[in-house]
């Protein structure tokens, strides 16, 4: 259970933000503004929120819960999803709330959230920007998904992976944009998608599917490295 508190300079005057290790996630929600950066290093797919069944876009970091095949931010070409940047911080209406128990917060280590004048410090200002981007980004992404769903452009994708050591992984509950149906769109619908700025994101998603193979390759190689060489056992 998160310990949620509304952030304010009185209660949180001495609170500091420290650098922690990124939470290991295999599927991270992203917004359309992040699509280009995400597609350069990983697949972008849709999944459904368990509570509402609504689609959301996510970047695939691994094939199993908690698996991150992409490594540190530097290895991802600097791509760090907004939802990971904002860890521990939430928007409640227009106010920032924090999960006081999150490991990012400390009384002793890291940068102070508020400066001496009780104004947000550099670190908090960065978080404000992240939360703002995320808030508007989620709305834009919702509109993008609604446009695709209206035109019946979303289709399920079955990913079945076979690894060199015999392991098989089947990913279910993932969806992508149907290129076939995109091609069959009539002129008005295609133009509408283009004018709304949605078309490029649809193509970015379909192109990013190529990254599945690359991720599988990384996973294969990792397994080889972690496996003891045959013959030395026993």
């Amino acid at each position: 259970m998160p310990n949620l508190q509304l952030l304010n300079p009185q209660s949180h005057a001495g609170l500091r933000l420290r650098t922690t290790e990124e939470a290991a996630s295999h599927f991270v929600q992203i917004v359309i503004a992040e699509f280009a950066a995400a597609a350069a290093c990983c697949p972008i797919l849709f999944s459904k929120e368990p509570a509402t069944g609504a689609f959301y876009a996510g970047a695939v970091f691994g094939f199993k819960a908690g698996e991150n095949l992409l490594g540190e931010v530097e290895e991802r070409g600097g791509f760090k999803p907004l939802t990971l940047q904002r860890e521990g911080f939430f928007l409640s209406d227009r106010h920032i709330a924090i999960d006081r128990d999150h490991a990012r917060f400390s009384e002793h280590e890291g940068e102070l959230l508020f400066d001496a004048a009780a104004a947000p410090g550099t670190a908090l200002r960065a978080i404000q920007r992240v939360l703002g981007d995320l808030h508007s980004g989620l709305e834009q992404t919702k509109a993008f998904i609604a446009a695709l769903a209206n035109l019946k452009l979303i289709e399920p994708i079955d990913v079945s992976l076979h690894f060199d050591d015999g392991e098989r992984i089947t990913l279910q509950g993932l969806y992508t944009v149907s290129l076939d149906r995109l091609r069959e769109l009539d002129d008005a619908a295609a133009l509408g998608l283009f004018r709304a700025g949605h078309l490029q994101f649809a193509y970015t998603m379909t192109a990013s599917i190529k990254q599945i193979g690359r991720l599988a390759h990384i996973r294969n190689r990792r397994k080889e490295l972690h496996q003891p060489p045959q013959g030395l056992l026993g």
Binding site: K48, E49, P50, A51, T52, G53, A54, F55, A149, K152
Partner: protein
């Protein structure tokens, strides 16, 4: 060419054969007229219009004539899983269907008191097939175990899912897709207008509000047109009679007799009432509950907004007053002052369903007690058959009618057999109704033969169930037979060979049951989410 535009070759023919008096005519079937605006009428209109979508507006039309004054009888609120594919084919949204027709999920039926009438007497007829049904018949293996587990629980998860009050899918499951097989409980009074809006807005069905005052026949005995005071004369090439019990076209006009089957199925009256839920948190049953009474049975159907409860009984075995008393006892204090609607029903069907250029669908075709929700499924099957076999011209219509009649007769016969099966397996002796139901002269011959056969081998993929016209699969017979304590003599050969497969299937069922019970949401919670968030199309 049918649309009358001339081409050169036709003109040449006319010049070459100016005096030919005995030309063979071709009379195309282009205008379909459906009479009656209930569930049967609108479902049939939707199925035909969806199938012939590309022809509508190009010389083909579907018209539905509805009386502005005749009230609609809401036939049964239970359905079969076929309705999922029917609705998907028509093109409606399942989310909107839930929102507008007070729909709840149905995962089968729970029969209480049918075998012995004792307090703990119940069994399920679920909609899921037994585990690995295509590979192995689990009946002999279950019989050999005798471990006290009900047949349903030994072979499928659905009885447990229903016990737990869980839904058959999650909010992340796409429209019309299932985790556990399901159909619906729906408000028939809202279903017809829901289909109407879709048929008229999306499928270009012409809706005419008019009373049929007179049916005009052609010289050959076909129906030529309908006279209406509001819309004048309405002509058609094929007429679908969906006028309910009145059977205006097939019965009153064409004189096709009604074949009564009350000698097999005794119930001829029904009392119905609507019971509100005590609160918005009351669990909604995810199965039809059918509770045996002294001379009939009570249906209990949970919609999202209320329960529909009714008593179906035999007036030869109980008075109306006593029947109402039994219904009121079932409902209890909560329904003390609720009004009861009385319906006379007549079990049976038309000797011919499709005669000349008229085909009957719905109550005009026949009626059976709603024990296995067969009314709407029969409408769907008939509408599909008409749509798929739509005769190109009048000249081939009689051939198609003959096929339609053979198939539909077979279906009615099998449904009657299946309904009677619920009665003949009873061990109850506490009233004349139950005793009369097992008298040999009330049991159809085919059912008698099958019961004899089933005492030696269980129904599975044998030849009596391999017809595509089959309404109830062999699995349904298994659930009712072994749910009601029927026993098939075990031949050792029935067990040999696939014991390992059976063992594996039953183990898989245990795993699957636990997985589903852990993963499925509560029935009411899912309906609330569907109304609030909607389901995705994929």
């Amino acid at each position: 060419m049918w649309d009358g535009h001339e081409d050169v070759s036709q003109r040449q023919v006319d010049i070459l054969f100016p005096l030919l008096s005995h030309r063979v005519m071709v009379q195309p079937v282009k205008n379909i007229v459906i009479v009656g605006g209930g569930t049967a009428g609108w479902l049939t209109a939707g199925v035909i219009a969806a199938k012939h979508r590309s022809r509508i507006g190009n010389g083909f039309s579907v018209t539905l004539v509805e009386s502005p004054t005749t009230p609609i009888i809401g036939v049964g609120e239970g359905t079969w899983p076929t309705l999922r594919s029917t609705l998907a084919r028509i093109g409606v949204s399942e989310t909107e269907f839930f929102r507008q027709c007070d729909v709840a999920f149905k995962q089968g039926a729970r029969f209480k008191g049918w075998t012995t009438g004792a307090a703990d007497d119940f069994y399920y007829h679920p909609l899921m097939l037994p585990q690995s049904f295509g590979q192995v018949n689990l009946v002999p293996h279950w019989l050999a175990r005798e471990d006290g587990r009900s047949f349903c629980d030994a072979v499928c998860a659905q009885g447990r899912i229903c016990d737990d009050g869980l839904a058959p899918k999650t909010i992340a499951t796409a429209e019309f897709e299932a985790v556990a097989n399901y159909s619906y409980h729906l408000d028939a009074a809202k279903f017809a207008p829901f289909l109407q809006a879709h048929c008229c807005d999306k499928l270009k069905v012409r809706h005419v509000l008019a009373d049929v005052r007179k049916v005009n026949l052609a010289d050959n005995g076909d129906i030529r047109s309908l006279d209406t005071p509001q819309a004048g004369e309405i002509e058609g090439d094929l007429f679908v009679d969906c006028t309910g019990f009145k059977a205006l076209l097939i019965g009153e006009t064409l004189g096709v007799p009604f074949k009564d089957c009350s000698d097999v199925l005794f119930c001829d009256r029904a009392l119905a009432l609507q019971l509100p839920y005590p609160s918005e948190a009351t669990p909604i049953a995810c199965q039809t509950i059918s509770t045996a009474q002294s001379a009939g049975w009570i249906w209990d159907i949970g919609l999202s907004t209320r329960r529909g409860i009714g008593h179906v009984y035999s007036s030869r075995h109980i008075s109306d007053d006593d029947a109402e008393r039994e219904l009121r006892t079932y409902v209890g204090q909560a329904g003390k002052d609720l009004p009861v609607r009385k319906l006379a029903i007549r079990s049976g069907y038309r000797e011919t369903f499709w005669k000349r250029n008229c085909v009957a669908v719905g109550l005009a075709a026949g009626f059976l007690e709603p024990l296995e929700a067969s009314a709407i499924v029969l409408v769907e099957l008939s509408a599909k058959l008409i749509a798929e076999q739509m005769p190109a011209c009048r000249e081939v219509m009689d051939l198609i009618a003959a096929r339609f009649n053979a198939t539909t007769h077979y279906r009615w016969g099998r449904i009657i057999d299946f309904l009677k099966l619920h009665y003949v397996l009873t061990k109850r002796k506490d009233s004349a109704f139950w005793k009369d139901n097992v008298l040999p002269e009330t049991i159809p011959d085919r059912l008698k033969d099958l019961l004899l056969l089933w005492s030696h081998q269980s129904p599975w993929f044998h030849d009596e169930f391999d017809r595509v016209e089959e309404v109830f699969p062999a699995a349904s017979y298994q659930y009712v037979l072994y749910g009601m304590g029927f026993r098939t003599q075990l031949e050792p050969s029935a067990l040999a060979g696939d014991a390992k497969n059976a063992e594996r299937a039953m183990r898989e069922n245990v795993t699957q049951t636990e997985r589903l019970r852990a993963g499925l949401p509560r029935h009411r919670d899912l309906i609330r989410k569907i109304i609030e968030h909607g389901m995705q199309a994929v």
